[in-house]
Each structure stands twice: as C-alpha cells, then as structure tokens.
Amino acid sequence: MSRFLFHRLAQYLVLLWLVSVIGFAVLHLAPGGPLAQFTLIPGMTAEQLQVIAHQMGLDRPLPVQYWEWFRRMMVGEWGRSYRDSQPVLYVIGAHLWPTLELMLSSSVVAVLLGTWVGVLGAIRRYSVFDYLATIGAMVALSIPTFWFGLVFIYIFSVKLAWLPPGNLYTIGDGSFLDYARHLIAPCLVLALVTIAIWSRYMRASMLEVVNQDYVRTARAKGVPGCNCPRCCPARWSPKLCSPGRAWAACFSIQSAIATIRWSWGS
C-alpha cells in the first residue's frame, strides 16, 4: 500500500512538473510573449521595449528563464503582476476567497441534490422520476453554462426581479443576507452540471448495491421503507473519489464563467 502510494505520488510529481513546463511554454510562445501588452502602449519604441525586456529578464534564454521562474515558484516568490505591479500572491489571495465560497456552496448544493436525485432514482428504478432525472441530467450536461446563466438572469433578475443580476453585494449593505442573496444565482447555475454528474454516479453506485444479497436479506427481515442506510456506506468511499476529474474540470470552467457572468469576485 505505501509502495503504491509512493509510486503514485512520484508519478504525480512528474505530472505536476510537466504541467508547469506546458503552462510556461504556452504563455511564452503566445505571439509577442509576455511583452505583448507593452507594445500596445502608444509611443512605445523598440529601445524601450528592449529595456523592459532586460529589466524583466525576458532577454535571457528560455531554459534559464524557466529555471528562475520554477525556483521562485518553489520558494513562494511569485513576482508582481504585469498589469498593476501588485504582488501576484496578494492578487491571487484576494480573489481566492470569493472563488472558494462559490465552489464550496455550489458543491454542497450539488452533492445534496445530486445524492437525493441519484439515490431516489436507483431505489425507484424505472419510475417516472427516474426517467425524468435521467433525461434532465443529459440535458443539463448539454446546456452551455454561460447561456444558462444568461437565461437564469433573464428569468429571475429581469422578469421576476427576485435576485440581483450581479456583483458580490449591494454597495453600502454589508449584511450576510444580502451577500447570500447575491450568492444564490451563480451557485445554483454552477451546481447544475455537478448535480447532473453526481446524480449519475450516485445512481450507478446505488444500483450496484441495491440488489446485493445482504440488502435482500435486510429487506426480507422487514427493514422498513427506504433501504439506503444499509446500502450506502458499503460502497461509497471509492465512488466518492471517482468523479474527481470531472469535478476539477467543472470548477475551473465554471468559476471563470461565474466571474464573467455575475462579475463575481472581481
């Protein structure tokens, strides 16, 4: 077991390193490289650009630049933002909290609703509820999230005026309720896709268990009604890990979308 963990860990370290190389390369190979935005300033001359490149160390060979970047990354010196010269760590920190809040709240909603839908779908397999949940999940996975956000704003903010159409809070109103009201719309929209994925996983893992012998025995002995407490704990722990990748992908795209759509945390 420890050998396996060690092996896996080593693999992931290599993977992380590869990711750092690709990320670095993509940003530097983009047309103009990191200097591109300075060329847009009116009156910028080639000499001035060279000075900037020299001061930022961008005239050194790429491998040297990469090594320097990597070394500083490791020790926590992440440099300053190209845009406004604030320390990068500070900028990330300032935006981390709203992002995390959004992710956490929407995943709590998604796990609760998704579990409910999935478990009920498995227990009442082939019921009307199950079919609707199946179809609903497929459609939810097919809707472009940014468009769904737009429709959501149109219905609940423009037509019904129930929810605020954007921002983190009303300026001058710092109450928790106001904050929560602003959280509802992006949270629900982000949760939609995750609910769909999660309910599918839950349904599948429940179905594996629901017809096992020990559950049948329990049922025969007259364990009342809903048999999920018996079914659930046995198989859940591995299943909880399996949607990890989907999870990660979802969040990265969706929090970006929430930022654009609701000017969340920016």
Binding site: I22, M138, S142, W147, R216, A248
Partner: protein
C-alpha cells in the same frame, strides 16, 4: 449473479419485464429523438439558406429588433442591425456543425493513433504517451483553448484544429485501454506468431475490435466540440463576425438581454438542441454496442 439480481428485482418490482421493455423503448426513443434533431438541424442549415428569402448579412436599419412572429416574414425576428435571425441562425448552424463534425474527425484520428501506439507498444513509449495525455488533461480545456486560440488567426480551420487539440485525449484513453487488453488475446498473439507486422496487428487485427467505444466516444465528441466552439466564439476568440456562429451570436446578444431577449435565447436553444441530440445518440449507441451492459 444475474439470476440473483433478477430474483431480487422481481421481488422488488413485479412488472420488471414490462419495465425493461419500457426502458429500452424510452432509451431507444431518446436516441431516435436525438438523431431526428440532428438530421433536422443539418438539413435546415444545409438547405435552408437557399430557400429562405432573406440573406444573413443583409442589413435593414428600418427593421431593427423586430420581434419574432410580429414582423411579417421575419419569423424569428431581426437583430440589432435588422438582419433576419432565422437566416443568421441557419448560416451559423453551418459553421457550428461543420466545426463540430470536423473537430470530431480530427480528434478521433489523433486519439486513435496515440491510443493505439501507446496501448500496443506499452512500456516506455506507452507510459510516456499516456502521461502526456494525463498532463494535457490536467489543463481545463477552456484555458487550453483560449491559450491556443491566442496563437492563431481565428479562422474556421484554425478554430477546428484548436478544438480538436483539446478533445483528443478521451479517445486516446479509451483506445489505449482497449488495445492494451486486446493485445493479450489469443488472436493477437496468433497473428504475432504468424509473423504479422506491428502495423498489421495494430490496425487490421486490434483496432476493428475496439471500434464500438470509439464510435461512442466520437459521437460524444461532436457534442463537446459544438459546446467548445460556442464557448470560444462567445468569448470572442472563435469564429469572427460577420461570419455568424451560434456562439458569437450570443456574444453580441448579451447587451440586449432586457430589450430583445430572443437574440440570446434562440442561438442558445439551438446549441442545447444540437448538443443534447448528439449526447442522446451517443448514450443510445453506448447501450446498443456494449454487450456487458444490461439496460440500466
């Protein structure tokens, strides 16, 4: 095992046989619905512009923001420049669907190639290739897409290639897993013993046996590609106006959400319809082609 399951299920639900037929029928019908939606959309986008009196680029400033159904022949209304929405939606559909199909074809080819090589040779080559796939998978495809889109002039071809570049990994993984297990089978070993070349074993013996999951994955890839195209075009890095695509129509429409909501609702509905269609068909194919799977 299946017998036990059946008994248990029969106890739980007496009408199981009927339900199963129902399940198959509904599944079947969903896939058929998806297929119908795709066929209708493709036909509409391919033939529609020839039959429809309005041109998608004709500007008419006297009829800006005509509401759907209220302005004569402009069934779906007009946009901020008085261009007919239906004509634009059909032309946009051509672009979006073309990107979807083409990106699927390219990403499937690349995925098959990488997956087959990795699965067949295994060892160092396989590990290196699959770790590379994992590394690319680590990047959110939107981020990858935007970074790549910044490199290239956004044209139909380049956007297609960029989308394909972010979509081939799933196919590669599926194919690699299939090939790796298939190459240990007797027929592959026999072929090897008979002195067949690597290429022959890979592409004539193994690959045809892995076709089912590839078909499923590539159907789902069309859906993905259409969604991705919508995302980049919506963000302004994809297909550039005046050429319409469902994604960039949404980009312009956002500002008019309050006064002219149909500009935003219609393209989104069509994206959803197309993507749902491909997902339903893919799901149906998965059920139909996977012998292990009891209809569930």
């Amino acid at each position: 095992m299946t017998e036990a399951t059946d008994i248990a299920a029969t106890v739980a639900r007496p009408s199981r046989a009927r339900s199963r037929a129902l399940a198959r029928f509904v599944r079947h019908r969903l896939a058929l619905f998806g297929l119908a939606a795709i066929v209708v959309l493709v036909l509409l986008c391919a033939a529609g512009p020839y039959l429809w009196p309005y041109n998608d680029l004709r500007i008419n400033m006297r009829q800006r923001f005509a509401e759907p159904l209220l302005a004569g022949l402009h069934v779906f209304g007009t946009d901020e420049l008085g261009r007919d929405m239906l004509a634009r939606l059909m032309m946009a559909g051509r672009v979006s669907l073309t990107v979807g199909f083409a990106a699927m074809a390219i990403s499937t080819l690349v995925g098959i190639l990488v997956g087959t090589l990795a699965g067949y040779f295994g060892g160092m080559i396989g590990t290196a290739l699959m770790r590379f796939v994992d590394a690319v998978l680590c990047f959110p495809s939107i981020f990858l897409l935007l970074a790549l889109a910044a490199f290239v002039q956004p044209t139909l071809l380049s956007i297609t290639l960029v989308i394909a570049a972010t979509a081939w990994m799933e196919v590669a993984r599926v194919v690699e897993a299939q090939i790796r297990s298939l190459r240990e089978r007797d027929f592959a070993l026999a072929s090897e013993a008979l002195g067949a070349s690597d290429a022959h074993i890979m592409f004539r013996e193994l690959l045809p046996n892995a076709i089912a999951p590839i078909v499923v994955a590539s159907t789902l890839n069309v859906a993905r590609a259409i969604l991705l195209e919508a995302y980049v075009s919506y963000l302004g890095y994809g297909i550039q106006p005046p050429v319409p695509s469902w994604g960039n129509m949404l980009n312009n429409a956002q500002e008019y959400l309050v006064t002219a909501p149909w500009l935003a609702l219609l393209p989104g509905l069509l994206i959803t319809l197309a993507v749902t269609g491909f997902n339903f068909v893919g799901d149906g194919l998965r059920d139909a082609l996977d012998p292990r799977l009891d209809i569930s």
